[in-house]
Amino acid sequence: MISLPRNSRTRTWLGLAPAWLVIGVFMLVPIALMAVISFLEANPYGGVHFNFSTDAYVQIAFEYDLEDNLVFNPIYINIILRSVGLSILATVVCLVIGFPVAYFITLQPPSKRNFYIYLITIPFWTNLLIRTFSWILILGRNGVIETPLLLTGVIDDSLNMMYTNGAITVGLAYSYLPLMILPIYASLERLDFRLVEAASDLYAHRLEIMTKVIIPLSMPGIVAGCMLVYIPSLGAFIAPDLLGGGKRLLLGSLVQFQFATARNWPFGAAIAMVLLAFVVVALMIYARSARKRALIEGDL
C-alpha cells in the first residue's frame, strides 16, 4: 500500500516531477547547451573551443575571402529561403488537396466518417522514411512514371524528376497531408450545418456559402493544419535527403549535414537556432490568431 502525501499540491508536483526531470534534462538542457555552442568557436578537427564568438551566425550570410574580408555569401541564405519557400508551397498543396477531402468526410454519415479518418491516419502512423522512399520508385529514373512514357516513346530521355524542388515538395506534402486534413476535419465536424442552410436561405449561392460561411468558420482548423504542415516541413530531413539527393539542402538537412558530415558544431547549432526561431515565430502568429478569433467571437 502506497501512502500518498496528504498535501495535494505536493502530490501534483510529485506527479509532474518525472516529466520535468526527463524533458528538462534531456530536452531543455540540451537545447540550452546547443544555444551556448552556437556562440562558441569551431574546432576545425571537430568539437569546439570555449571562446565566445558570433562567427557561426556571421557565417550564415558571409564568408571570408582570400584577403580575409567579409563578403556576402548567398549559399545559406538561399537554403533558408528555399526551406521557407518549399515549406509554404507544401503547406498550400496540402491545403488545396486536404480541405475538400476534410469537407467530404464531414458530409458522410458518422459511421463512414470514422473509417475515412482511419484511412487518413494510417499513412501518418507508418514509417515516414519508407513512405518517402516509395516516391523514389515513382519519380526516379526508370520509375513508375518514366518507364511507360519511355516505352511508348512519348519521351526519349529521362524527365529528371528526382533531385528537384518539385520532388521535395511532393515528398513534404505527402509526408504531412494527414496533419492538414485532421484538424480541418475536426473544425468542420463542429460546424453547425444550419449556418450553411441559413446562408443558402439568404440567397448565397454555392461559392458564397463556401467563402462566406464554411471557410471562415473552419479557419481555426485551417490555421492549425497549416502550422502542423509548415513547422515539420521546415525542419524536414528525410524528404530533402532522399528526394533532393542531399544536394538541395533544406534547413533540417543542413543541420544534420553540419553535425554528421562537416562536423562544424557551432555552425550547425546556429542553423538549428535559426530553425527554432522560425518555428517560434510561426507559433506566435498562430497563438495571436487564435487569441484574436476568441476575442472576436466572444468565446473568452
Binding site: 500518498l4 495535494s8 499540491r9 502530490r11 501534483t12 510529485l14 506527479g15 509532474l16 518525472p18 516529466a19 526527463v22 524533458i23 528538462g24 534531456f26 530536452m27 531543455l28 538542457v29 540540451p30 537545447i31 547547451l33 546547443m34 475538400p100 477531402v101 469537407y103 467530404f104 468526410i105 482511419y118 487518413i120 499513412p123 507508418t126 514509417n127 515516414l128 522514411l129 519508407i130 522512399f133 516509395s134 520508385l137 515513382i138 526516379g140 526508370n142 505527402y174 497531408l177 450545418f193 443558402s200 454555392r206 456559402i209 464554411i214 515539420p232 525542419g235 524536414a236 530531413f237 528525410i238 543541420v255 544534420q256 550547425g268 547549432a269 538549428a272 530553425l275 527554432l276 518555428v279
Partner: protein
C-alpha cells in the same frame, strides 16, 4: 424523378477529389509493396513474381539484429513514457489550477513543437559532452523524451472526458482515496493509457532522424538500417523489408484504432463501459 440540383452544402466533384487524394496517399506504398515481389534484382525493372527477397530479408542477420533493437527500444521507451505521462496527466487534470500549470503543460507538449532534427542534434551534443555511451540506453532516453507527449495526449483526453461524479460517488460510498483510484479512476483510465502506450510504441518504432543522430554503433534500429540500405543503392530487398515494416505498422495502428473506437467513448456518468468490468474484484 431526378432532381435537378444538389442538396445545400454539397459540391460536385468532392467524391472524385477524395478518391484521388486517397490514391495519392496509398499508391506509392502500393507500388512499393508490388515491387517487393519483383523477381528482378534491379529494383525498378519488373521481371516476374517472387518471394525471394522476403526470404533474403529473413536470412539477413543485420536486419534481424536491427529489428530486435527496435522492438527492445520501443518496449522500454513505451513503459517509461507511459508511466511518466500518466503521472503528469493525473497531476495536470486532477491537480486543479496551480502556478506552473501552463508551464508544465507546455513542457510536456514541448517535444511535439520542437523540430525533430533540433531535438536530435541537441541530445547528440548533450550526450557527447557528457561522454555518455549506454548503447541502446542513449536511444531509449531520447525516445522516452519525445514519446511522452504522444502517450500524454490520449490519457489526458480520457481524464478530461471522465465524469468526476463517478469518483465522488465512490467517495460518497465510503471508498478511501486510494480505493477510489484503484477501483474507479484506474480502470476507467485504462483505455487512455493503452492508447497512449500504443502511440508511443509506434512513434518509437518509426523514429528515424533522432535515432540516426543519437545511436552509437551497435544500437542501429530498423529504420536506420533501411536508410543505410537505401543509401547503398535501391534493391528489392529494401522494398521487402519496407513492406514488412509497413504491414507491422498498419497492424499496430489498426489494433489501436479498434481499441480506441471500442473503449474511448467515455461513459458519462452511466458507467456502462466494459472498461470498468472486473474492477470490483
Amino acid at each position: 424523378m431526378k432532381r435537378r440540383h444538389l442538396e445545400v452544402g454539397r459540391y460536385h466533384g468532392l467524391g472524385t477529389w477524395t478518391v484521388l487524394c486517397f490514391a495519392f496517399l496509398y499508391l506509392p506504398i502500393g507500388i512499393l509493396i508490388i515491387y517487393s515481389f519483383n523477381a528482378s534484382s534491379l529494383a525498378m525493372t519488373w521481371t516476374g513474381f517472387s518471394l525471394d527477397w522476403y526470404a533474403k530479408v529473413l536470412r539477413n542477420d543485420s536486419i534481424q539484429f536491427a529489428a530486435v533493437n527496435s522492438l527492445v527500444i520501443a518496449t522500454i521507451t513505451t513503459l517509461f513514457a507511459t508511466a511518466i505521462a500518466t503521472a503528469a496527466a493525473l497531476a495536470l487534470v486532477r491537480g486543479g489550477r496551480f502556478t506552473g500549470h501552463t508551464a508544465s503543460l507546455g513542457l510536456v507538449t514541448l517535444p511535439l513543437v520542437v523540430p525533430e532534427i533540433v531535438t536530435a542534434v541537441a541530445v547528440l551534443i548533450f550526450f557527447a559532452n557528457l561522454n555518455l555511451n549506454l548503447g541502446i540506453g542513449n536511444v531509449i532516453i531520447a525516445h522516452t523524451t519525445f514519446c511522452i507527449p504522444f502517450a500524454f495526449m490520449p490519457i489526458r483526453a480520457r481524464l478530461v472526458g471522465m465524469d468526476t461524479s463517478l469518483e465522488q460517488a465512490a467517495r460518497d460510498l465510503y471508498s478511501s482515496e486510494w480505493q477510489t483510484f484503484r477501483h474507479i479512476t484506474a480502470p476507467l483510465l485504462m483505455p487512455g493509457i493503452l492508447s497512449g502506450a500504443m502511440l508511443s510504441f509506434v512513434i518509437s518504432l518509426d523514429d528515424f532522424i533522432i535515432t540516426l543522430m543519437v545511436a552509437p554503433a551497435g544500437a542501429t534500429t530498423l529504420p536506420v538500417y533501411i536508410y543505410s540500405m537505401i543509401r547503398q543503392g535501391i534493391t528489392p530487398e529494401v522494398n521487402a523489408i519496407s513492406s514488412v515494416f509497413f504491414a507491422a505498422s498498419v497492424l499496430l495502428v489498426s489494433i489501436y484504432w479498434l481499441l480506441s473506437r471500442r473503449v474511448m467513448s467515455v461513459p458519462k456518468g452511466t458507467g456502462t463501459s466494459n472498461a470498468s468490468g472486473g474492477s470490483r474484484t
